[in-house]
Symmetry: C2
Subunit: 197 residues, 2 copies
């Protein structure tokens, strides 16, 4: 198996984005994270903050609309963003070897056998500490922020992929950054990718 | 983090046992798998086949008994086996560096920080092929055998640990042997264990 692409799905506050960026730098390949949001913004006209939210989290109004008996289905903004995002991710993966963080890239590229699908998780205490370190204090407690993000991200993943978020069998490798350590995660993934060549 | 013990939880037919044995051999440390069954048999007087089944799979009669309103709880054979098994695993882990396959060892040793908790999974097609190669054809189809084992193992894990089977966050590392390959899984785990020293 020779890997060309690494997709990183991650729990909020697990350091998955940091791992993706460090890994890409070590491998000398690009890392796509907020760059995908920029590209979707360019193509769709939606604001970046709106895309960052709707391209990975599902809103309760969107879900409840789908379950109303008298609901006449039409493409929502979430669907439009997802379709543009899907095309951008497929194009990026065709073009070059890279790391892609989040945005269901693992599912979008599931037909390819040169994708190393990674999941990064961590215990709640480490995540709570990390989100305060990285994103600062907010009105809501770190625990509430984690719970809200997990819930919406799980729902988004389930809705668009019909798979359960965080199940080991959906990935090639899952790492707990809280116990293994961020730097060790980077080294482990680097070695797997390099040894596949 | 310097690891002393490796616990391997695995889906039936994922090659987790084979990985555990090869890894232990490569590291020059013992691998406990059927040896735990032998020890439980010695202490309990139950037959080995019975322990192999009850020490990792939960029977529907045991579960339904617990949910009957007029059920007067007493220790079942499953509970007795679990208690003896728990003590044996704690003793082994205290004594020496080793690999332990299955039997909720990850949960039994969850208080220790020198345990590398591994989960091995794989896709259903690879597992079906593997169980026929390793255990031969049986009256039931490989798919049915996998479904039955998964169901009972999941229930056992949930019942005794109150965690969900196969969730990445319960382990330090999860590997998909179907895509990563058995030999690569051994190499990856070997490097993580060795580099922790």
């Amino acid at each position: 198996m020779s890997y060309k692409i690494i997709t990183i799905s991650r729990e909020f506050g697990s350091g998955g984005r940091t791992i993706g960026k460090a890994l890409a730098e070590k491998l000398g390949i690009p890392c796509y994270d907020s760059e995908i949001i920029d590209k979707v913004a360019e193509k769709s006209g939606f604001a970046k903050e709106y895309i960052a939210d709707k391209g990975e989290y599902i809103s309760t109004s969107h879900l409840s609309g789908l379950f109303r008996s008298n609901y006449y289905y039409k493409s929502s903004n979430e669907d439009i963003i997802r379709d543009i995002q899907t095309k951008i991710i497929l194009d990026i993966a065709d073009k070059e070897s890279c790391v892609i963080v989040g945005r269901c890239a693992d599912y979008i590229l599931h037909d390819r056998d040169d994708v190393l699908k990674v999941f990064i998780c961590s215990d709640k205490e480490s995540r709570a500490k990390r989100i305060v370190d990285v994103y600062g204090e907010k009105e809501d407690s770190p625990e509430k922020r984690i719970k809200d993000k997990d819930k919406k991200r799980e729902a988004y993943y389930k809705f668009y992929t019909d798979m359960s978020w965080g199940e080991a069998k959906n990935y090639d490798i899952s790492l707990n950054s809280g116990t293994v350590g961020i730097d060790n995660c980077v080294d482990i993934l680097y070695n797997i990718f390099r040894n596949s060549k």
